[in-house]
Structures are given as structure tokens and as C-alpha cells.
């Protein structure tokens, strides 16, 4: 056996690949089955959104924020609208804030359901995908009733939301919550506590909390590493300070704190908390207007602001510099997946190749956000 020539193999997990969530290219150097180095290359979906923002009015940029993270469009819409409103000092009516929160949480559930489906798919199971997408159809029906679109909504406007909820939305939303809560238990039986799933997911891709903070990893990935940090609780925006919910933190019930199983279970728990938030918001929502009048040519006084929001993937930040005209001077979008992908090269060292695919899935990034 000592006469065998061994050398490292360079594998290109190319931009077109069913397991990278989008057009991500990972150059992997493997020694047999074990990965020695993995470098992600991004930029395949770079559309120059920040440059486009400098040409358009504030209101005109709203549809572009949908396409930033198409699985969580409402959250991106909310982020951009709230940043512009903060800089322009526009007050949003309370009913609009509640509608925004309900939409954002519904979108969080939808996004985590896609994560649930694709996690199962990467481990080799087809059923979670079908179940996850079936539940997601309920949510998408609710959205289609409201704004007419299934994936990229363009529902929020600067100053509120574009129009009021249709009749029957509240009953249907409550029906969805009642239907969905027992389903979560069913999925836990199916996948979460499944011994094969646990054996595949536990103890791989362990991300310690210092590395996570240093690399800028935020959102469920950071909470799975044991850090209790949720912008909805710690730096609240919109009406989150009036709503009561818990922040799930990774405790290492199965495997270690910060491994892929923990990242998975955090998102399942977040779905449960989101249902709780939606119920409370539906009950607390007052009557009233849904949009403040904003002048057509919206000029914002010169200044800058950085606001951050809790997207399903992490902390999304908008840094807006204005020079007094009706177009943004500089809009920087700090996407959560940008930092989440940068930690792949650390996590994927010395793991098996099939585990690396699971780690990529558990970080739950999405490429349009990374590339903008």
C-alpha cells in the first residue's frame, strides 16, 4: 500500500448544481472522501442592484428588494421601507405595522418550510420536500389573496402597505394557524427525531460562537451556536416590542451546540414561535388606515442611516446615504447570506464530502442576496 501515489483531487462543485442553493461555485480540494479545503466563489448572480438604486427614486426601488431574497420578499420589503421611513421621518399607521409583521412572519414560516424540505432532500429523503411545499401553498394562497403575487410581492410601500387586507384574510389566516400547528409535531416525528437524520446531521459543521460572531454569521445560525441574539427582541423595530414570543437558542440536545442538527431544530422552533406571533398580531391589530400620504417626489434631507432587520436568514442591514434629492446617493444592502457563505471555508475543512453538502444546506443561504 505504501507504493500508491496519492494526491489531492480538485473538484469543481460548479455554478449549476442541484445541491448548492443557487448559483454558487465551490472549489473543493479533497483527499479521497475528506475535504481539505473548500473555497466558495460568488458573483454569478450579480445584477448591480446598488448601482441601479442610485438611478431610481426611492419608491421605484421597491420591486428590486423583492428579488433580493425571493423566499423572504416581505422581510426585504419591510427592511427597505422602514429604512427610508426612518431617514425621512415618516410615521407609519399602526394597522400597517401589524400587517407588515403578519406578512413578515408568514414569509418566515414559508422560508423555513423550504429549508425543511431541502434539508430532507439533501439527506436523501423526498417526503419532507412534498410536505413542506404543500404547507407553503397555504401561505402562498394567503399572499395571493392579498397582493396578487406568489413569490415576489412588492406589497409594502414607503409609508405603509399598498392596500388593506381583503375580506376573509383574517379568518383564513387563523384557519391556517389551527391547521398548521399539529402538523409541526407530525414533521418532528417524520424527520427531526428520525435516527437516520440525527446520525447524518449531528456533530458535523460545528460552529463555535466566537467564530460565528467574528465571521458575521447571524440569524438562526448564530442562535444555534448558543448566542441568544434576535434583532426582533434586542433591537426591536416595527411593533415587535408589543408581541410576546421566545427566542429559541441551540442547546445541543442531540449532538453539539452549533452543529447542523441544531441549526435545523432552531428553524423548526422558530416556525412555532412565528405562528404564535401571527395569532397575537391578528388579535391585536387595530382598525385604521394602512398608508400615510407620501409625496410623489420624495426628497429626503441629506443624512445617513443604518437599520437592521431580522430576516429568516439572518441580519439584513440597509445603509442609506442621502444627499437631499429624490434618489438614494448610496444604498448598501448588507445581506445575511453574504457572511453566512464566507464561513463555509472554515466549516467544511476535514469533513466528508457528503457532509459538506449538508453543511451548505444547513447554513440556508440564498444566492441573489449574496450577489445583489
Amino acid at each position: 500500500m505504501s507504493g500508491l501515489k496519492t494526491e489531492e483531487m480538485l473538484i469543481n462543485m460548479g455554478p449549476q448544481h442541484p445541491s448548492t442553493h443557487g448559483v454558487l461555485r465551490v472549489l473543493v480540494k479533497t483527499d479521497g472522501e475528506i475535504v481539505s479545503e473548500a473555497t466558495p466563489h460568488i458573483g454569478y448572480l450579480h445584477r448591480g442592484l446598488e448601482k441601479i438604486a442610485e438611478r431610481l427614486n426611492y419608491q421605484q426601488f421597491m420591486p428590486y428588494t423583492d428579488r433580493l431574497d425571493y423566499l423572504a420578499s416581505m422581510n426585504c420589503n419591510l427592511g427597505y421601507a422602514a429604512t427610508v421611513e426612518k431617514l425621512a421621518k415618516i410615521q407609519v399607521p399602526e394597522r400597517a405595522e401589524y400587517i407588515r409583521v403578519i406578512m413578515a412572519e408568514l414569509n418566515r414560516i414559508a422560508s423555513h418550510l423550504v429549508f425543511f424540505g431541502t434539508s430532507g432532500l439533501e439527506a436523501g429523503a423526498w417526503t419532507p420536500l412534498i410536505y413542506g411545499f404543500r404547507e407553503r401553498e397555504w401561505i402562498i394562497d394567503l399572499f395571493e389573496m392579498t397582493c396578487g403575487a406568489r413569490l415576489t410581492y412588492n406589497y409594502m410601500r414607503i409609508g405603509g402597505v399598498s392596500h388593506d387586507l381583503p375580506d376573509g384574510f383574517i379568518t383564513k389566516a387563523k384557519e391556517f394557524c389551527d391547521y398548521f400547528e399539529p402538523r409541526i409535531k407530525e414533521y418532528n416525528n417524520l424527520l427531526t427525531y428520525n435516527q437516520i437524520f440525527i446520525k447524518r446531521m449531528a456533530d458535523i459543521g460545528v460552529l463555535s460562537s466566537e467564530t460565528a460572531i467574528n465571521y458575521g454569521v447571524t440569524g438562526p445560525n448564530l442562535r444555534a451556536s448558543g448566542v441568544k441574539w434576535d434583532i426582533r427582541k434586542d433591537d426591536p423595530y416595527s411593533v415587535y416590542h408589543k408581541l410576546d414570543f421566545e427566542v429559541p437558542v441551540g442547546k445541543g440536545e442531540v449532538g453539539q451546540v452549533g452543529d447542523t442538527w441544531n441549526r435545523y431544530i432552531i428553524r423548526i422552533r422558530e416556525i412555532e414561535q412565528s405562528v404564535k406571533i401571527i395569532r397575537q398580531a391578528l388579535d391585536q391589530m387595530p382598525q385604521g388606515e394602512v398608508r400615510t400620504k407620501v409625496p410623489r417626489i420624495l426628497k429626503i434631507p441629506a443624512g445617513e442611516v443604518y437599520c437592521r432587520f431580522e430576516n429568516p436568514r439572518g441580519e439584513m442591514g440597509f445603509y442609506l446615504v442621502s444627499d437631499g434629492s429624490n434618489k438614494p446617493y448610496r444604498l448598501k444592502i448588507r445581506a445575511p447570506s453574504f457572511s453566512n457563505v464566507s464561513v463555509v471555508s472554515v466549516l467544511a475543512k476535514d469533513t466528508m464530502f457528503s457532509d459538506m453538502v449538508l453543511i451548505l444546506g444547513s447554513l440556508d443561504f440564498i444566492l441573489p442576496e449574496v450577489d445583489r
Partner: protein
Amino acid sequence: VAPQDLLAVVATLKTAKELSFDALMCLSGVDYPNLPDGKVGNFGVVYHLFSMQHRHKLVLRVELPKDNPSVASVANIWQTANWFEREAYDLYGIKFDGHPNLTRILMPDDWEGHPMRKDYKYPETYRELPL
């Protein structure tokens, strides 16, 4: 903050107990406009820092001249800065000294020019294909 003092300031900010800014939220390049009194505008690099322990935020801004923009890299202090600095280099042309791998990250590797600059002209062809 002046560019040459950046490293010293940043090291104190991270380690001092009352400050302990251990998270870099965002790092962006900005192309400031020309001032009305005729001075040419600068590039700026804006750092948004946050402390997880004390929960306070800080914004640092470094202004760099347009003809040779270069500043020390903070990638060794906050690893998030690694990719953010690559993006600022790619889109603005700001060089970060001491960065382990300063290559283009979003644009194709053989692209010429720095797109986010205000005086950027859209190229006509790329590798002899018309754009």
C-alpha cells in the same frame, strides 16, 4: 478617522473592556460627491461596529483620496471584513493592505474598471462580445 490611525483605533475598540466591539455589522465603500467649493470628493469606507456585550453601536468613517485609495485591512480583527473588503475593492477600487486574498469577488475576474464609482463608464465590449 485618518487612514493611518485606523489599525490602532480599531484594535482598542475591540479589546477595551468598556467598548468591546466584537461584531462588524457592515463595511461599505462610498464615493462622496465633489464639494461646492471645488474640492474633489473622496472615497470613504464606513464601518458599522456593534458590541454584543454592551449593545452599543459605532460608525467609523475613513476618507481616502481618489487617486490612490488604500487603507489598512481589518480582516485579521473581524473576519467578516474579509469578504466586505473584497467587495469594496471590486466595486470601488479601494485597496486594503494586509488583506489575505484581495481579489474580485462579485465581478468576473478579468473585468476592467470599478463599477460603483460615480464616474464609471459602462464598457462596450467584454472579451470581444458586445454588451
